[in-house]
Chain length 372, copies 2
């Protein structure tokens, strides 16, 4: 499924064939938590923003509108009118970050919905069932995501359990993929590496999970409290242990700089809410570094956000107009800025791929690592 | 400027030539209060929604970002990237509905900004100055908009003052249009008829304001507390007194039924926040009557909002998806519903014009007056 085309430093130019289309790597997934990009951006808009993969959240879709509703409507791709690949996370991250009163044990996790407090149980099997109902292209294994810093012994036990959960995930998804009324019978599964910032636990866990022949491997539990240096160290430590013939996904990362550094260390896929979240606060990415559009100096600025950007926002709208909309609390301000930031991220990935294709990734890396 | 092409009942098929393009009448203006349609809809989106005229609010633009800022950026059309005609209201309605601590006298109105409480003075002259800075296609006269029910003697005095204000508006706008650095030197002026629900005052006021050779005449002070029947009565009463060679604009109206009834009584132009406001609450217009998309029966409904609608929302998205987005508080839900409702209104006007063209407006009127 994964084809490595070129390599420079540890950066990998590759292609990942999925049942719903080819993903060019390195790539960035655009986050549509509840089946929609924050800021009023639709799946059809994403087509104009160079988006390759939509990421939807299992936890959110399970609570509302319910995964069975989505299944009845033909799955998440039909529901959101997105015809490309979709990755669903396992719900694990949200269970551990959003849900209340959780109780974790071998079988799974009991928790209360953050919407209405309703008691919910989620296990490797229920997570796979939900993701199968959503019929995403790629399902993520159900894991425990530990915040950093963490205790060594807790982390070790948790990693062991996450590894056991992965075996159950694979078994369950194989079963579901063989059922007659499953929408996507070729649903793929990615395992998730954990281990906090403990290198020995990270390596041990990676060795364990790579034994299962999965479609890809993710590094989870980073960008959750540790420093950027610690994060890069973990990626470097893990890289030699990650299968080279499978895509590698760094979860929830990050700034453009983080992305460039991760790619240089061998990561293929990333996702983050940063482009949309920052946009809403006026923090916009440009090829000369980030700017804050709410700054008074942009009040009468008739230039686009970035003169080197050809996104739909920069083609038609001025900094002054975008600033006015955000200051006035107009939704259009959020939409235009989210469109710009997502386009920036997706274009960054495109430029990274082009530089790898042309054999000058290292030059690109050195030029942009201090600008971005 | 105005050409009457056909007439049926009192409905008028016409064209209005403006410096920024021809407006086909009857027509509905799409409200972009702060220079943006609520719900994250841009001027470029409006092009796909059959919108002919954008309406912006003088009061809001004066407070934020400031009309001089807009002037420096080339005027409201350049600022919002809308290349068609723009009508700006005079600020009068907002001064009397939104602003606090107002003090009205012959010279003008003192009031406090609803944003920061700052003291502001607005008069016929300042309103014209602001609208000239905004450089809209059509400026509206500065008037006092009285809520219904109103007292006769207050209304009479207010109408007299509004008539005196109109003379000052015309004088000031003529001056501004002759200045070298005015952006739109052909800015048009519409007068506004007032008089609450008192027919004699309405007629007297209309007779007075039609003496000034303005580009169009509006009926103001309706849809502000009176019944629909009272509103229709006033339109019928005024119709014979409104110049037949000028466009007639009914301000702030209304439901699709209101619009149909007003057109049948000789009105050419309307505006209302209803399509966008209703959309946000799930109230959507269809050719079989309004529906509430939040209703549980739409939870798993894979049909579009209206199977007879070819708006961008209905082309790609299901009722179930739109409902899910609104229930989840996703901005995309508002965007998709506002797009649908605006398209519905603009299509209604298109259908009205087509029925007039084909000589079957009365049949159209009778068919739809009880459905809409």
């Amino acid at each position: 499924m994964y084809t490595l085309k070129k390599k420079e430093m540890n950066a990998r130019l590759g292609e990942f064939k999925t049942p719903h289309g080819v993903i060019k790597l390195p790539g960035f997934m655009n986050v549509a938590t509840c089946g929609a990009i924050k800021g009023g951006v639709s799946a059809l808009d994403l087509k104009n923003l160079k988006c390759q993969v939509e990421l939807c959240n299992t936890y959110h879709m399970h609570l509302r509108p319910g995964d069975e509703v989505v299944k009845n409507l033909g799955g998440i791709r039909k529901f959101t009118s997105w015809d490309g690949p979709v990755l669903t996370d396992s719900g694990g991250f949200q269970v551990f970050s959003l849900a209340k009163l959780r109780n974790i044990h071998e079988e799974g996790v009991e928790f209360s919905s953050h919407i209405d407090g309703r008691k919910i149980f989620m296990s490797p099997e229920t997570s796979m069932q939900i993701q199968s109902n959503l019929a995403s292209t790629i399902a993520m294994a159900f894991d425990e995501c530990i915040s950093n810093p963490a205790e060594y012994s807790y982390t070790k036990n948790s990693c062991d359990r996450t590894a056991r959960w992965l075996v159950r995930c694979k078994k369950k998804l194989d079963e579901l993929n063989s059922l007659e009324n499953t929408i996507n019978k070729k649903q793929m599964l990615f395992g998730i590496n954990q281990g906090s910032t403990f290198k020995d636990l990270r390596i041990e866990h990676m060795k364990k999970i790579r034994e299962l022949d999965l479609n890809g491997y993710a590094i989870g539990g980073l960008a959750v409290g540790e420093t950027a240096k610690e994060m890069y160290d973990i990626i470097e430590t893990l890289e030699p242990y990650m299968p080279s013939d499978k895509p590698r996904y760094l979860m929830g990362v990050g700034t453009p700089r983080n992305i460039l550094e991760a790619v240089a260390r061998g990561v293929d896929l990333m996702d983050c809410v940063m482009p949309s979240r920052n946009a809403r606060h006026g923090k916009l990415f440009t090829w000369e570094g980030p700017i804050n559009i709410l700054n008074a100096k942009y009040e009468q600025d008739s230039l686009p956000i970035d003169s080197n950007c050809d996104c739909p926002t920069c083609q038609y709208h001025s900094r002054a107009y975008v600033r006015h909309l955000l200051k006035s609390g107009e939704m259009l301000g959020m939409r235009l800025t989210v469109i710009h930031n997502l386009y920036f991220y997706n274009t960054l990935m495109e430029k990274i791929r082009a530089s790898l294709e042309e054999g000058n990734f290292e030059r690109f890396y050195n030029k942009y690592k201090n600008i971005l």
